[in-house]
């Protein structure tokens, strides 16, 4: 066990916990209404989407042959997810496509 890594987990975990807990103890609902709430919602969704995209397609650090299977797998996962509304099945379909298209080394 790496103590530095555990320290990072604890600090990030504390920050995430405060984000969950503070609204329960601060009477500040009015601050997070309307456009502010909408912006926060969009930013969170955008950050998650950006995280997925940057992990799937790290510019300059994945070989070109992997790009095709990765793009196909992501597109298939999006299509299956949108059609079925089941993220788990869509993930299985995307990963299966990645394997079938030679994504494994």
């Amino acid at each position: 066990m790496d103590l530095a890594r555990v320290g990072v987990i604890l600090v990030v975990g504390l920050a995430c916990y405060l984000e969950r807990a503070l609204p329960q103890f601060l009477r500040a609902e009015r601050l997070v209404r309307g456009r502010v709430a909408t912006w926060l919602q969009y930013a969170s969704v955008a950050a998650i989407a950006g995280l997925g995209s940057s992990l799937a397609f790290p510019v300059g650090s994945i070989p070109h042959p992997a790009l095709g299977p990765r793009a196909a797998a992501i597109l298939l996962a999006i299509a299956v997810g949108a059609a079925s509304r089941h993220a788990a099945w869509a993930t299985v379909a995307g990963v299966a496509a990645y394997l079938a298209l030679g994504g494994l080394p």
């Binding site: 600090v11 209404r33 709430a37 997925g52 990963v95």
Partner: protein, 260 residues
């Protein structure tokens, strides 16, 4: 069997409610509601936890660290972001800010849950806050709105306290699965999570503007991160949110929807 389930349901909620009297045994309808809500969430969490545990393993985290991360951070995208940023050698401040931005939705959800957590004591409310998750919220919102007062609180908590350990166990199961897969497949394992994120956004995000924000961010992130490995992700998320807010005028919010 049914009576045991009802007793379990009552015990799980008893410690967190303000009442000093023994909790009433819930009726069959309450238990049915609980099962109907909790089981799909647990079934959804399991593959996500597997993917998260696999990714943690692929990034060199130990089993204990993976379990700790699942219990303390309790948010798959942040767990993955921390694992990836740690591997990339990012500073702590960047990991904290990235986690906070990704989890902004929990801030809104927690504000939405304020009326439902009002019946809890201080420490119980502080503990209950840790169970806030997108799936628990989305799954319980409708039954909570149909119920009232402590019953609504009970519905949320009875699901939250079951889903939380399932999440930790599924992450550990993913880690265990990862230990059986040769190290040369680590790069492929790390790809499972991006696929899940794409699938989750396509399956769960139904509002047009949110989808647009996700699409803009998805297209721009690789380039933004290439230009600024440290802050590209956060800056492009903020830019995408600002752009879509500006274009749409930000008319709908979860808070309004929940209170309506």
């Amino acid at each position: 069997m049914a009576t045991r389930a009802r007793r379990l349901f009552a015990v799980q909620c008893a410690a967190m409610t303000t009442s000093t009297e023994p909790p009433p045994l819930p009726d069959r309808a309450s238990v049915r509601t609980w099962l109907r809500v909790a089981i799909p969430i647990v079934l959804t969490f399991f593959p996500v936890g597997l993917a998260t545990g696999l990714t943690a393993k692929a990034n060199g985290f130990t089993g204990l660290e993976t379990g700790l991360m699942a219990a303390i951070i309790y948010a798959a995208p942040v767990q993955i972001a921390v694992a990836e940023l740690w591997t990339a050698g990012a500073p702590l401040f960047q990991m904290v800010v990235t986690g906070l931005v990704i989890n902004l939705r929990f801030l809104i959800i927690s504000f939405t849950l304020v009326p439902y957590f009002r019946h809890l004591r201080g420490i119980a409310r502080a503990l209950a806050a840790q169970t806030v998750s997108m799936s628990s919220f989305a799954g319980t919102l409708t039954p909570m709105q149909r119920a009232s007062g402590p019953e609504a609180t009970r519905i949320y908590l009875s699901v939250g306290v079951v889903v939380f350990p399932c999440w930790v166990m599924s992450c550990l199961a993913g880690f265990g699965l990862g230990t059986r897969i040769p190290g040369r497949y680590d790069e492929a394992l790390r790809f499972v999570f991006p696929v899940f994120i794409a699938a989750m956004l396509a399956a769960d995000v139904r509002e047009g503007p949110s989808l647009a924000a996700a699409a803009v961010a998805f297209a721009a992130a690789p380039w933004a991160v290439a230009l600024s490995p440290r802050w590209g992700l956060i800056l492009e998320a903020a830019a995408a949110a600002t752009l879509i807010s500006f274009l749409t005028g930000g008319s709908r919010t979860w808070i309004r929807r929940a209170s309506g």
